[in-house]
């Protein structure tokens, strides 16, 4: 309440204010004032907060309800204060500002490695995730290209060598550029950027390194961070943040974990010619993915020389006098690693945010619990993105951020829709998928037809490399709808996107078949699958329809278990 005490009550209607505000030269507009530490006299509400703007059927929450003592609506420094400027936070802030809300966002100072005191505008995706990872994938895939090109008549006098420093420097320059772009995007949208660590003081107040801001709504979008289990020698271990910022190439690396991060880094280091070992507790990589795809990827990875150690749990990391590392597991000890990387999951960044004190409920793993509109148990506090641990993908955080802004400031209650979310794993070869796995489909629909293709692409017949592609369509036998689509092989991620539109739109196998192929492509295979590889028939549960949200829960649970 601190900042609101001195605020003048203004009796203009908000529309009057709005036009008044328009007449004020930009340089004088309240929003362009420096960071707010003293009360602002005129605080135009660019959206009408009276009587509309709030819809939520569960918490009938309005501005009026808040000032339940019958007083005039209280004043806030901002309509929205966002903590965390990653994909979700930036999206929500910009969109909210576009709806006319006054918005501030805080973010930790930039660093390539995240911690309690470092982060950076752009967040995990831009600085420690999708982007640098994909750049490394590009870099590492060149070694495969060189190998392939030999089959197409290219010859190198000496084998191309990789210079780690060049790649790192160019990667870091690109990250700097992107974080700059994100800052500009915020600035251009009129969002006030505050550098520092945000902590929630009360349902309408955020403290950033000692400065206090009030806001009508608070959005938590602080994301997640790699988690390393506490075993002896864990101090020698690197996580994905560090793996993206290593000073030199690992000679021999152990990657512990079988999720998408583990397989992506295995591909990267393998392509950059490190010796790579993966250690997983399970029998197979990529729990939650389609079984056939899991088997296929493991096979392709081992053909590239990645060594897979299954059913091995890490027990300790030991540093030898020569500086090399050994990984001790339940099955034995493997020596001689230059690096040991743990890709053993991520945890929501919910510590020291003041959530417990203010009454925001969290799940066991620390994820913030939210309703379908991303609202927490405290009506003025919302959360989007990885911190809520729903489906932890950038485009999903964007969707959640967009839906939040629309709901709260656009007067259009919007739930993010989690059905048929496509996703990719940038392993080598990559995976692209949308909809259900075969196992999920059987559980949910009973009767399904599975169409598969496993072939050697044209490129591989010339290159002579053992590269293959596997493709899979899962069709509901009753409705003929395509309910799952999986690809592992070159360009899988790019191929799947268009098919995701079709799956999301509920199209049938007949619709796929009616589409003419593009020749010669890999993707045409998906519209020319004539005969089912297998038909699975079970006595189906009565009247199972297509429940998009239902399967989302299934998938979400998978992700949570990881």
């Amino acid at each position: 309440m601190a900042a609101s005490i001195g605020a003048q009550k203004v009796s203009f209607s908000s529309s009057t204010l709005h036009s008044l505000c328009r007449q004020i030269p930009n340089s004088l507009a309240p929003r362009s004032l420096p960071a707010i530490s003293s009360p602002i006299l005129i605080k135009p509400l660019k959206y009408n907060s009276h009587g509309r703007g709030f819809f939520n059927p569960y918490h009938c929450f309005t501005v009026r309800a808040e000032s339940s003592n019958g007083a005039e609506p209280r004043h806030f420094d901002f309509d929205l204060f966002t903590i965390g400027a990653g994909s979700g936070g930036v999206r929500a802030s910009r969109f909210a500002a576009n709806y006319g809300a006054s918005v501030a966002i805080c973010e930790l100072p930039f660093a390539t490695i995240s911690s309690d005191s470092t982060g950076g505008v752009g967040g995990t995706c831009v600085l420690r995730g999708c982007v640098p990872k994909k750049l490394f994938v590009y870099s590492s895939k060149h070694s495969h290209d060189f190998e392939e090109s030999c089959g197409f008549g290219w010859k190198y006098e000496s084998d191309p060598k990789h210079d780690w420093g060049t790649m790192m420097a160019n990667k870091n320059a690109e990250l700097q550029r992107l974080t700059g772009i994100y800052k500009n995007t915020l600035k251009n949208a009129g969002v006030t950027l505050i550098e520092g660590r945000g902590k929630i003081v009360d349902p309408h107040t955020v403290d950033v390194d000692g400065k206090v801001y009030t806001a009508r709504h608070i959005l938590i979008s602080v994301g997640g961070r790699p988690f390393i289990p506490d075993i002896p020698g864990s101090e020698y271990v690197i996580d994905s943040d560090m793996a993206l910022d290593l000073p030199s190439k690992p000679k021999k690396i152990a990657i512990v974990g079988g999720g998408y991060i583990a397989v992506e880094f295995a591909g990267i280091f393998n392509g950059l010619m490190s010796e790579v070992h993966i250690f997983i507790r399970q029998k197979k990589l990529l729990r939650g993915f389609d079984e056939e795809i899991r088997d296929f990827l493991a096979e392709q990875m081992s053909l590239k020389g990645i060594e897979l150690h299954t059913e091995e749990s890490p027990q300790a990391v030991i540093k030898a006098p020569d500086g090399s590392l050994s990984l001790k597991t339940n099955k034995g000890t493997v020596d001689g690693f230059s690096h040991v990387m743990f890709a053993t999951g991520r945890k929501p960044n919910t510590k020291n945010l003041g959530l417990e004190a203010v009454g925001v409920k969290m799940a066991e793993g620390g994820a913030i619990e939210v309703d379908e509109y991303s609202r927490t148990t405290v009506p003025s506090i919302w959360a989007v993105g990885d911190v809520t641990d729903r489906v932890n993908l950038t485009p999903v955080a964007l969707m959640e951020g967009g839906a939040f802004a629309k709901s709260v400031f656009g007067n259009e209650p919007t739930k993010p829709n989690y059905s048929a979310i496509p996703s990719a794993v940038f392993s080598q070869p990559p995976i692209g998928q949308v909809g259900l796995t075969e196992e999920q489909a059987v559980r949910e629909y009973g009767d399904i037809d599975v169409f598969t293709a496993n072939f050697r692409p044209l490129k591989a017949t010339l290159s002579g490399l053992p590269d293959r592609i596997v493709m899979k369509l899962i069709v509901c036998a009753k409705t003929n709808k395509v309910i799952g689509l999986h690809i592992c092989g070159e360009d899988a991620a790019e191929i799947v996107q268009g098919f995701a539109v079709a799956v999301k739109a509920g199209l049938t196998k007949a619709d796929f078949d009616a589409t003419v192929g593009i020749h010669p492509t890999a993707a045409e295979e998906l519209v020319t699958m004539r005969n089912p590889t297998r038909k699975i028939r079970k006595s189906p549960p009565a009247e199972v329809g297509y429940h998009p949200d239902h399967w989302q829960m299934t998938k979400s649970n998978y992700l949570k278990k990881k």
Binding site: S158, G165, L462, G498, F499, A523
Partner: protein, 496 residues
């Protein structure tokens, strides 16, 4: 009447009207359409024979090969060369990703060509085997139609075989043609271009179609100097104008010399190569001059005139919606009918023909929203209407969404080449009428989009699809703001 033949001692197939034929179906031409129609018809229980000319990478009146243009002289070898050429750019791109590539990188054309030939020979064998496995009887030789139910095959040794068939299917495809200019015999067509002994150092290409731009990209990617001549202002007539501009810019950006609005006048043989004279008086020296000036249907030597099968002015066999010619027992599919000359369309026509003639399910090929790709480097791929077509046909407004972006790979490689994507939407119904992309992986990306278009997906359905990050394709589902709104040509003008 010709001599009846009994094949493999089987009894001839009998017919509803009691007439006995050697075969239910005789197919002339073992390319994509012919092979598909034969196999599917056999699958429906028909007794099928097919004839095809002897295999040779370069086609002529007497040479061809099972697999046809697509497999032997088109899509497949072309794509192999495009792959080969793409590595040229990849090597450049690799440097900023930390790869020290020795300046001395050698490209061995002969090796690639040899491997290409190996691959098409392999595919040719696969096609033959597929036919055998489907129970189709294959003949090697030139087929001619001698009557509504009569086919004559001239074998390599000159002996002639005659067969009767209930139905005859013409699937003889098409062939590249040359312009009638002096010295045209010094030039080559795409057939030879796919089988050159030496890599040309200096290539001159005449033509503005997809074949012209694909070969320009291939040779340029392998390091040759390429000069591309075409009559219009931009290549790829018929494609979306904006996308044509993008392709033009990319070809130039990759170092191809463009000569819009120009033609070749004469070719002269010299010791230093071929001297090329242009219509505006310019002179160039070239190792290879490629004519990519269109293709003509292979309908001349089929004796169609005598049987009374109608051809159009261009020599294409005229057919109805079921691919039937004016002679009820004679049908035609694929390039020889000059409808949409694409392999997958020939396949569709072949399938529909089999269903109609032998499956008891009259089926018309559906030509709406046929996607296609141009394998230039980078490639172009489209489905549905171009902006111009959409505007021409629209009664209301057309919304154009455009996304021009620097592909992530280029942020580090430093390559100055933007990818462009486009959606053309009916403002009133929100239906996506056309989609196009020029950039890496465009053909792979458009295939799935094509399903959505074919089924009348709306822009809202595109928007409700979550993106795959980071990909290029995600742009197609994240185009939020309209680039422009254009009034349809058929829109009623009001006096308000």
């Amino acid at each position: 009447m010709s001599r009846k033949m009994l094949i493999d001692g089987e009894l001839s197939s009998s017919n509803d009207d009691g007439v006995q034929y050697d075969f239910d179906l005789f197919v002339i031409g073992g390319g994509s359409g012919g092979v598909r129609a034969s196999r599917f018809s056999a699958g429906f229980g028909a007794k099928v024979a097919i004839c095809e000319l002897p295999f040779h990478p370069i086609s002529s009146e007497l040479l061809g090969g099972f697999g046809g243009t697509c497999v032997i002289r088109g899509c497949v070898p072309k794509k192999i060369l495009v792959y080969g050429a793409t590595y040229g750019g990849e090597l450049q791109d690799a440097r900023n990703y930390g790869w020290e590539v020795n300046e001395k990188v050698d490209f061995n054309w002969k090796k690639l060509l040899q491997k290409k030939t190996q691959e098409i020979v392999r595919l040719n064998e696969i096609y033959k085997r597929m036919l055998t496995n489907s129970g189709v009887k294959s003949f090697e030789g030139e087929g001619r139609i001698t009557g509504p139910h009569e086919v004559e095959v001239t074998q390599i040794d000159g002996t002639k075989l005659s067969f009767s068939a209930k139905h005859i299917l013409i699937a003889t495809g098409s062939r590249a043609q040359r312009p009638p200019i002096p010295g045209q015999e010094l030039g080559i067509t795409s057939d030879e271009a796919l089988s050159l002994d030496e890599m040309p150092k200096r290539a001159v290409i005449l033509g503005g179609g997809y074949i012209a731009v694909e070969f320009a990209s291939i040779w340029r990617g392998m390091g040759a100097t390429v000069d591309l001549f075409f009559r219009k202002e931009r290549p790829l007539r018929g494609f979306d104008d904006e996308m044509r501009t993008v392709v033009t810019r990319n070809l130039e950006g990759r170092g191809i010399n463009l000569h819009p609005g120009k033609n070749l006048k004469e070719l002269i043989k010299t010791d230093d190569g071929i001297k090329v004279l242009t219509d505006d008086g310019e002179e160039l020296m070239a190792d290879v001059v490629l004519f990519a000036t269109g293709r003509i249907p292979n309908s001349k030597r089929l004796n169609l005139g005598a049987v009374g099968v109608q051809l159009d002015a261009a020599g294409a066999v005229k057919v109805d919606e079921y691919s039937r010619t004016n002679i009820p027992s004679i049908w035609a599919i694929g390039d020889v009918t000059n409808r949409i000359n694409l392999t997958p369309v020939a396949l569709m026509e072949g399938t529909c023909f089999s269903k109609t003639a032998f499956g008891g399910q009259p089926s018309k090929p559906d030509y709406s929203d046929v996607p296609c790709a141009v394998f230039s480097i980078p490639p172009l791929s489209v489905v549905g209407l171009s902006e111009q077509e959409a505007v021409e046909q629209a009664k209301g407004d057309i919304l154009v969404f455009n996304s021009t972006f620097n592909p992530m790979k280029n942020t580090i490689s430093g390559r100055q080449e933007k990818s462009v994507m486009k959606l053309v939407v009916d403002a009133e119904t929100d239906k996506v009428l056309g989609a196009a992309m020029c950039g890496p992986d465009a053909p792979e990306i458009i295939q799935g989009i094509a399903i959505a278009l074919k089924c009348g997906a709306t822009k809202a359905q595109f928007d409700s699809t979550v993106g795959i990050h980071p990909s290029a394709a995600e742009e197609f589902v994240t185009m939020r703001s309209v680039t422009r709104r254009v009034a349809g040509a058929l829109k009623l003008k009001t006096n308000l």
